[in-house]
Subunit: 101 residues, 2 copies
DNA sequence: TAGGTATTTAGGTAAATACCTAAGTTTGTC
DNA sequence: GACAAACTTAGGTATTTACCTAAATACCTA
């Protein structure tokens, strides 16, 4: 668990927002986009970029970095890449801050 | 507690290191600098900058930002500014990540 | 008031990050 | 194979951050 990498992957508002949106997709994404939502997969890049109001490439890189830091998990399926939160990592991060930081 | 501000105040290695050094000053600072160390105050700017191997102004700004984010507490005494960790804030941060992030 | 030490503020350059558009890749469908 | 949809990679500009030196401020002591 590389603390600095994680912190950097979280150090802008959009990235923090994405994490919040993915915590409860039904509260933040339009129902029609979630018609076949699978919690094991998460939400696809274009839906997230739409929600963020940013270009797909920008958001794609954000997500990729967050996945590299192990805060998100990416799953490629057909032509989509889905992202979901890595809850275990997030809890580990909390523990690390609590005990080690 | 402004999460983004806190995260930004922690998003470089030196700042993380400072937090670690202040957790156990006797393990990281030369004994002679700590001859009248007071845990209620912490360590002064110039000692921290020496330990970091960076200029005093650079470290002064780091410390100031971390204090603005409430992660450190600054105390001015005579011509020195001492910094110590804000343990309560750090625990709050851990809780926030655990429950809200 | 003069001079010294500790710190902060200002101002500058270099590197990193934020975003975009355009171009390429992957995968599915006709 | 041609085309479309979703995504990634490349490449560019603008803003932010890193870090320095120089100058200003604060506070002590003679």
């Amino acid at each position: 668990m590389k603390l600095l990498e994680i912190i950097k992957s979280l150090s802008n508002q959009t990235r923090l927002d994405i994490l919040a949106w993915l915590k409860d997709p039904f509260a933040y994404f339009p129902a029609e986009e979630l018609s076949d939502y699978d919690p094991a997969l998460g939400v696809c890049v274009s839906d997230i970029s739409k929600k963020a109001g940013m270009s797909v490439p920008t958001v794609s890189v954000y997500l990729k970095n967050m996945a590299a830091a192990d805060i998100l998990v990416a799953t490629r399926k057909d032509q989509w890449t889905y992202y979901k939160r890595n809850e275990e990592s997030i809890q580990q991060l909390a523990e690390l801050i609590k005990d080690k930081l």
